[in-house]
């Protein structure tokens, strides 16, 4: 099975996306097909042996839509020196054109440039240049800014095209409106030239309107081409409604024009060309505003993609050489100077610096980097010059993975969207039925054909379901994008929707609530021994230890600048502690069992030991020369933000549970510090998933927050798995939500964002449905039946356009979503 994502062009409403889904879904070999109207992406899983991408494209085209060229193709203009004639042009086109991965090449002799469309994953720019050089010409450096993202270009063109169409339609509609309505305005009575007086020259009046409506129809030609095709396939969409509504107005007006020509001059009052033109202009205005707004919904991803620098300096034979980022290979040595961005992922081999990774993680404090430390592409080198070895390039970099994750999330469909999909599938045919019935019903009551036509057109025009199709995906795009800006990555629309339902948040203790790295918290010496001396002895004893507690003591001593003494002899006693010989003295370091075994009396230290243990710390007795010398206590302390995060979650009405393999006493001590509601202690790693399941069995929807491999099963079991910080790949893979920063406060922020997004979706659906629920009866003349006003189709078109614009604008409000935290303004 092959998973593919294709860009569909020409869709305007939820009916279109449903239609494409149905058409592609029916193809032999297709396992699943899902279309997102906002991103215009068709997500497809199919059997390559049965079906080809071309066949999918053909089926989509047959349904009246198109498949855009793959987004991964890039266009580049390469300046070339040495061309003298048309033969040179042909030669270069030939050598470049036959490279695998080059989609098209056009060489212009006059400008001495080659315009190349190529797939960077298949062919390197350097290979293209090499081919040109091999043909005897000199390719010059490409301006990085000339690389054009095809998808962005396509969208820009689409917006520009819609704007031009709108301008043409408006340029026709305004004089039409003036002609048709200006002289009817009761107060103003806008003047008309004598030759357009409808009573003196009714046929000129009609024919001028007919001529003016033609450009408007031309501007809205796609409503007819797509709409009528969809109607022919018995899958009417928004375009069908516009096409039928405006065509009815135009055809009736044409009939009136013929009547005028035959001497029935009163038919000059039954011309509705302006209705068709104004409807087309308003719909095109709505569509161009919608397209511009939709472009903004994917700004987050554009920002992410724009983070990577365009070039990198690699060391070739010891010399600095600037190359396009696409030409950096794994293993290349890359030099980054202060103030420059790190181009790809790698490992520092030389130099020392601080790197600002906030653009990827949201963490504002720069991270120190020295030889051996990993660096991430797109992060900013602050103050030192470093050389690093590239370990991941191109689509493998962390940035590329994040972009992919966010793109997938934005392209995926939330379960809540299914409601809109189901409704819109039946919506258009039902609306057409209502329009016809309403028009006929009014005719039956004795109203004129014109009246019936007005009702018919108004119902068709006001009921376009484009807002319905945009309600969910636009909010998800903006919501996931806003999250990505802050290092909160939802892995799909479903994850975003599920997150707002969470009732209980289960936090893994170690590494999630706590720093995940024990530190020395207490040094308790006995009999006049200095605390530093006690710590020095303990560190000397532990120097060879690989136990985390031992490492914490060694690190603690080093932080205090104590001399690094080496033990003469070292013996680990499993489950009890260690015995070492330091400077000729025997040093014991361990628990009560070790002291008992060696016959050392704890004396006054016993009470202090119990006190420290009850506070959740791990105290260790130290004896020197067979006599108790003191206690060194070590603990994995909660992160500074943990208590704040827990408090925020509780204020949000969430139950917060701490899950740990530690003993109950230690767990309770940490729980008291951070303020969780419930503690599940002494849970073995393999039982974590069971613990989550048990909470789910209580009827709670659970989010599990963890960072380690041992959390993977629990993350998968939870309704929402949240991988936090620089968690392991397994944890990230198992999670539904990835928090880039190692900050627990992003958990309530993510839940709040999810809640805001779902609230936004509900508002959007309310508006989208509301427009139709209210608009259709009004357009059908319900108010008029009770003496109220009648909805002019022009106002119906304005309302319909505004419904889409208001839905997209409302979704864009999410861009201003604030991740409020205690202490933040």
């Amino acid at each position: 099975m092959k998973v593919e994502e294709l860009t569909v062009t020409g869709m305007t409403c939820a009916s279109c996306s449903s239609r494409v889904e149905r058409v592609v879904g029916k193809l032999a070999g297709v396992k699943s097909a899902s279309v997102n109207l906002a991103t215009e992406k068709l997500s497809l899983e199919y059997d390559e042996a049965v079906l080809s991408e071309e066949q999918v494209a053909q089926a989509v085209q047959k349904a009246g839509y198109g498949i855009a060229p793959k987004e991964d193709a890039k266009r580049v203009t390469i300046p070339i020196e040495g061309m003298t004639c048309a033969s040179c042009v042909a030669r270069i086109e030939k050598v470049v054109g036959r490279l695998e991965g080059v989609r098209s090449v056009a060489v212009n002799l006059a400008t001495e440039r080659a315009d190349v469309l190529y797939v960077p994953q298949t062919v390197r720019l350097s290979a293209i240049k090499q081919a040109i050089s091999g043909a005897g010409y000199t390719p010059r450096e490409v301006d990085a800014g000339q690389s054009v993202d095809l998808d962005a270009e396509r969208k820009r063109k689409a917006i520009r095209n819609l704007r031009i169409r709108f301008i043409v339609a408006a340029a026709a509609a305004l004089p039409l409106l003036y002609l048709a309505m200006g002289h009817m305005l009761p107060q103003v009575r806008l003047p008309l030239p004598a030759f357009l007086d409808p009573m003196q020259y009714p046929l000129v009046f009609a024919v001028v309107q007919l001529l003016l409506v033609i450009p408007a129809i031309g501007a809205g030609s796609r409503f007819y081409s797509v709409g009528l095709k969809a109607l022919w396939h018995r899958a009417p969409n928004m375009d069908s409604l516009i096409a039928i509504g405006t065509a009815a107005a135009v055809l009736y007006s044409l009939a009136s024009t013929v009547r005028i020509a035959m001497g029935q001059f009163m038919a000059a009052e039954e011309l509705y060309f302006e209705t068709a033109a104004v409807i087309i202009a308003l719909i095109l205005l709505g569509k161009s505003l919608e397209a511009a707004s939709k472009g903004k919904t994917s700004q987050a991803i554009k920002k992410l993609m724009g983070l990577a620098p365009k070039t990198a300096v690699i060391l070739v034979d010891g010399k600095d050489t600037e190359v396009p980022i696409a030409e950096v290979e794994v293993g290349d040595l890359v030099r980054v100077k202060p103030g420059e961005k790190i181009p790809v992922d790698g490992e520092v081999v030389e130099g020392y610096t601080a790197v600002d990774e906030s653009m990827l993680t949201g963490e504002s404090i720069p991270v120190e980097k020295k030889a051996g430390d990993p660096v991430t592409g797109a992060s900013l080198n602050k103050n030192g010059s470093i050389v690093f070895r590239a370990t991941r390039v191109g689509a493998d970099t962390a940035l590329a993975q994040i972009v992919k994750l966010v793109e997938q999330a934005q392209g995926s469909k939330a379960p809540i969207a299914q409601l809109a999909d189901v409704v819109s599938g039946y919506f258009v045919p039902i609306v057409m039925g209502i329009a016809l019935l309403a028009g006929l019903a009014w005719l039956a009551t004795g109203e004129s054909v014109v009246f019936g036509l007005t009702i018919f057109t108004a119902v068709l025009v006001i009921a376009c379901p484009c807002a319905l199709g945009l309600a969910t995906p636009t909010a998800i795009m903006v919501g996931t994008g806003r999250g990505a800006e802050k290092g909160i990555l939802f892995k799909g629309g479903a994850a975003l929707e599920q997150t707002h339902r969470v009732q209980t948040v289960v936090l893994d203790k170690t590494g999630t609530l706590t720093e995940g790295r024990p530190v020395v918290t207490d040094v308790v010496p006995l009999d006049g021994l200095a605390p530093a001396e006690l710590l020095r002895l303990a560190a000397a004893a532990e120097r060879g230890s690989e136990h985390p507690l031992g490492e914490a003591i060694v690190r603690g001593a080093a932080e205090q600048g104590l001399a690094a003494t080496v033990a003469d002899r070292f013996q680990a006693i499993p489950g009890k502690g260690i015995v070492a010989s330091i400077e000729g003295r025997e040093v014991l370091l361990g628990n009560e069992s070790l002291f008992a075994e060696r016959g050392v009396a704890a004396g006054p230290l016993a009470a202090r030991w119990a006190e420290l243990a009850s506070a959740g710390k791990t105290p260790m007795f130290i004896a020197v020369g067979g006599k108790a010398a003191g206690i060194v206590a070590v603990a994995d302390l909660p992160k500074p933000s943990s208590a704040r995060a827990v408090k925020t979650m509780r204020e949000m009405g969430l139950e917060v549970v701490m899950l740990t393999g530690d003993n109950r006493r230690t767990a309770q001590a940490v729980a008291a510090l951070v303020g969780v509601d419930r503690v599940l202690a002494e849970v073995l790693p393999k039982d974590k998933a069971e613990a989550v399941k048990a909470i789910q069995a209580e009827g709670r929807r659970v989010a599990m927050v963890g960072d380690g491999i041992n959390d993977a099963a629990a993350l998968a079991q939870a309704d929402i798995g949240i991988a936090i910080g620089s968690g392991t790949d397994v944890a990230i893979e198992s999670a539904d939500l990835v928090l880039m920063r190692d900050d627990l406060e992003d958990v309530p922020a993510a839940i709040a964002l999810s809640r805001a997004t779902i609230r936004n979706i509900k508002q959007n659906l309310f508006w989208a449905f509301g427009y139709n629920v209210l608009g259709i009866p009004i357009a059908a003349g319900l108010l008029h039946a009770f003496g109220g006003p009648l909805l002019n189709p022009i106002f119906a078109a304005a309302a319909m356009s505004m419904s889409s614009v208001s839905v997209v604008s409302n979704a864009l409000r999410l861009r201003r979503f604030r991740f409020r935290k205690k202490g933040e303004k």
Binding site: R189, P191, M199, Q200, V204, V208, A261, G263, F265
Partner: protein, 229 residues
């Protein structure tokens, strides 16, 4: 052709089309059918149209004796249009002729006929051979088209003679009971002492007309309609 060129050519093409429309008499259905219906009127009047050699004006006469006259050549010295009617009903209703404007109104004390004279312009009309009454009317439509109009409420064509006075005829004589109508602006007559309630043979009624801005309005008129068929 590039889209920019197309965009530039579009207004030029639109202007050309508009110019063609304005100049194209085929699209002037009101003017065209006014002529054909006028022919029907001329054929229907009992005392068929004729040219008064002394005045150089064609005329049609109603069964009641009112006459509508139109000049064969507006460049001549006499009035371009003239309505002649029996003044008795107005005199008996209180008309004091000396209070009427001498430029428009003239009472012949001998015949007791009131003549309303109108000047439309001074264009000369050229004919091939002897002019006919219909040809004379055609020249008016061609040269003074704004004077010809269609009255939707009565399904009439009409000539706006000036100062609210009109001569109207039915678009379809077979379907209309007012085939020929003399329409007088009552204001000067009322100002000259006429009591509209006492005018015999003329209707004093509200008529719906359009003002200069195209707005519908109700005005008083003296009307005298005739059914010819």
């Amino acid at each position: 052709m590039t889209s920019k060129v197309k965009l530039l050519l579009a207004p030029v093409a639109a202007a050309a089309a508009l110019g063609f429309l304005i100049g194209c008499s085929a699209l002037d259905v009101v003017g065209r059918t006014a002529v054909t219906t006028y022919r029907a009127l001329l054929e229907a009047v009992p005392d068929g149209p004729a040219l008064d050699g002394s005045t150089g004006r064609f005329y049609v006469q109603s069964p009641g004796g009112e006459r509508f006259e139109w000049s064969a050549d507006f460049s001549g010295s006499g009035p371009d249009f003239l309505i002649s009617l029996d003044a008795a009903p107005f005199l008996e209703a209180g008309l004091e002729p000396e209070r009427l404007s001498g430029e428009r109104y003239a009472l012949d004390p001998t015949t007791r006929r009131l003549a309303l004279a109108f000047e439309a312009g001074d264009k000369g009309f050229a004919y091939k051979g002897e002019p006919s009454p219909l040809e004379g009317f055609q020249k008016i439509v061609e040269s003074y088209r704004p004077l010809v109009g269609y009255h939707e409420a009565l399904d009439h064509y009409g000539l706006a003679l000036g100062d609210g006075n009109m001569f109207e005829w039915a678009k379809d004589l077979s379907k209309n009971d007012k085939d020929m109508v003399f329409v007088l602006n009552p204001e000067p007559l009322l100002a000259a002492g006429v009591d509209p309630a006492k005018v015999q043979g003329w209707a004093f009624a509200k008529v719906e007309v359009k003002d200069s801005a195209g707005a519908m309005m109700q005005v008083d008129k003296f009307l005298k309609p005739y059914e010819l068929r």
